[in-house]
């Protein structure tokens, strides 16, 4: 139990640190940070209120405290261009990003695990080496370039799938296929490699030899006996890889015109819309921390032995 409490408490300094870093970044912004946070067209009364809240005339430490209070209230400022509340925009776009990330995760998990098992079972053969090369290739491709090529191939040449956009109703799934596979590909490659290693390790255990000696068929040994024990490092990687989905979604959403926070962040970058950029960075970091927390807690549940070992600071 103490492991869980400790792990949850550990997120507090991380979250504080994230707020410090974004605070420093905000201080470094060109121009007046208050104006930056509120927007050029902000009501002077609002400006005054934020100024009082943040107290830009006060010492930096007090300013930071004010900033922290704002964040605790979920206040992220307003877009310099649309004057929309950044919090509102993010709340509206976040589900789209999560949908895309979940689809990509599904794709990469299925592809990665299957490929990894395939490689482990065919260890040392030509096919193993080919698949290893391909998975290294998958990690090496720039996401945005891959996305463009897939659009060209499947939307322009073969005309199978829509090139971009989100769609709605029953046809919406077709819009998800290309961005999700683009986003999931490099994770699938990474996952395939870790599955291969983990599976090879499990397959060399004595209990697998026993299962084989009993005359069980290869698929039963692999999927029933070995698979479960292969899963622990695989599950960890799936969770830890969440950061790469957040990174990738910035590029993937831009290419595919997907209305999520990744594209929102990029629009913010192009317009130098600082509150939007900082809002996205904060949201991304917060999501990342929460997912890591969830993975660690889940990890403890999956393998009771971890509870003691992982309680040590890693």
């Amino acid at each position: 139990m103490t492991f869980y409490v400790k792990r949850i408490l550990l997120t507090v300094p991380t979250l504080l640190g994230i707020s410090i870093i974004t605070f420093v970044l905000l201080q470094a912004l060109p121009g007046d940070p208050v104006q930056g946070l509120a927007g050029d067209r902000a009501d002077p009364a609002v400006l005054e209120r934020i100024r009082q809240d943040m107290g830009t005339d006060r010492p930096v430490v007090l300013q930071y405290a004010g900033y922290l209070m704002m964040l605790m209230r979920g206040e992220l400022g307003r877009s310099l261009y649309t004057n929309n509340s950044v919090r509102g925009d993010i709340a509206q776009k976040l589900p789209n990003t999560i949908l895309l990330a979940a689809a990509a995760m599904l794709f990469s998990t299925i592809m990665g695990i299957l490929l990894g098992i395939f490689m482990a079972v065919n260890r040392g053969t030509f096919w193993d080496r080919l698949a290893l090369m391909l998975s290294t290739g998958g990690i090496s491709l720039p996401v945005f370039w891959l996305g463009l090529l897939l659009i060209y191939l499947f939307a322009f040449r073969l005309q199978l799938l829509p090139p971009a956009g989100m769609g709605s109703g029953p046809g919406a799934l077709a819009f998800l296929v290309l961005p999700a596979s683009t986003l999931g590909l490099s994770s699938a490659a990474a996952l395939a490699r870790i599955t291969r290693t983990s599976m090879l390790e499990v397959l060399s255990q004595p209990y697998i030899t026993t299962a084989r000696a009993k005359g069980l068929s290869a698929p039963v040994v692999v999927f029933k006996h070995a698979f479960k024990n292969t899963l622990i490092p695989v599950v960890t990687l799936i969770g830890l890889d969440f950061g790469s989905y957040l990174n990738g979604s910035i590029l993937t959403e831009t290419i595919f015109g997907w209305d999520g926070i990744g594209r929102y962040a990029v629009e913010g970058i192009f317009q130098r819309d600082y509150p939007v950029i900082m809002g996205c960075v904060l949201t991304g970091a917060l999501l990342f921390v929460l997912v890591n927390l969830a993975v660690d807690l889940l990890y403890g549940l999956l393998d009771p032995r971890i509870g003691c070992a992982a309680a040590e600071p890693h």
């Binding site: 640190g17 290294t136 990174n247 970091a285």
Partner: protein, 276 residues
């Protein structure tokens, strides 16, 4: 000679990767000699020409030679990828080894900062930093460094902790070696193989990140040719004039692939325990 041939036969992948990387570095160094055209010169008479004898990789919408631009792009990518790696290894070395060796409060503070930097999705943090700085070589390298050093610090710390109670360190201490000498002469050599593997793979990662920043317009600014920006600029021409997007992309993928393969091979050779 014979040993060399044997090495090639045993490690074809490693040789191929090393060759590609050597060629890329040579390309970057001797770009003015290799590129047949000035990468910046606009020639509206040869706009959007398909790859052929005159222009090996074709020309872009302004009539600039794509091959020359790809060659010069190698300069930017490799310079940023390599210098960001060296710098983040150095920062990681200082922070990680100090934390691991000193332990106690210093360790706690450094680990906290390290974990903090690892708590951001890397590209997002790099974007946030690049947005604030005037775009250019320096800001991209700095952004990548700030994002990349933490994983090296964690690595150095872990290795240092695993080594510092070993008897050879104790022996060195008993002989009166200073802490600095123990770290530099006794611990560092043990870290190097693993760090070399991690660094090689990181070069590829940094080059990918640089291309992503350029793609988003946060890298080296036009008209300087970078692979990422070339793809971004011409992406709408993919159906009609695909070579403008295809060649810079191949350049990125090939470079990153070579570094990743080299990293994997080094791992197999230097550290069998970590074999994937």
């Amino acid at each position: 000679m014979k040993a060399g041939l044997l090495f090639i036969r045993r490690n074809p992948a490693m040789c191929a990767a090393t060759t590609v990387i050597t060629l890329l570095i040579a390309t970057a160094l001797f770009a003015p000699l290799i590129a047949p055209f000035d990468p910046l010169v606009i020639d509206l008479g040869v706009v959007k020409q398909a790859p052929g004898s005159g222009h090996l990789f074709g020309t872009d919408t302004l009539g600039r030679d794509i091959f020359s631009r790809v060659v010069y792009g190698a300069r930017t990518s490799l310079l940023i990828g390599l210098s960001a790696t060296v710098l983040s290894v150095l920062i990681g070395l200082l922070a990680g080894m100090l934390a691991g060796y000193a332990g106690g409060a210093a360790d706690m503070c450094i680990t906290m900062v390290t974990d903090l930097f690892l708590a951001f999705p890397s590209l997002l943090l790099a974007i946030a930093i690049s947005v604030l700085l005037p775009p250019g070589l320096f800001s991209v390298t700095l952004a990548l460094c700030l994002v990349g050093w933490a994983s090296f610090a964690r690595l150095f710390r872990a290795i240092t902790i695993s080594l510092k109670e070993r008897s050879f360190v104790e022996a060195a201490r008993a002989m009166g070696c200073s802490h600095l000498r123990i770290m530099a002469r006794h611990l560092l050599p043990h870290c190097l193989p693993i760090v070399m593997i991690a660094a090689t793979i990181k070069v590829g990662g940094f080059i990918l990140a640089e291309s992503a920043l350029s793609f988003l317009g946060l890298g080296i600014q036009p008209p300087e040719p970078t692979w990422g920006a070339m793809i971004s600029l011409h992406r709408s021409y993919l159906p009609s004039a695909g070579w403008m997007v295809l060649f810079p992309g191949i350049a990125i993928a090939l470079t990153v692939f070579a570094f990743n393969i080299l990293g994997d091979c080094l791992r197999d050779k230097l550290d069998p325990d970590l074999r994937v």
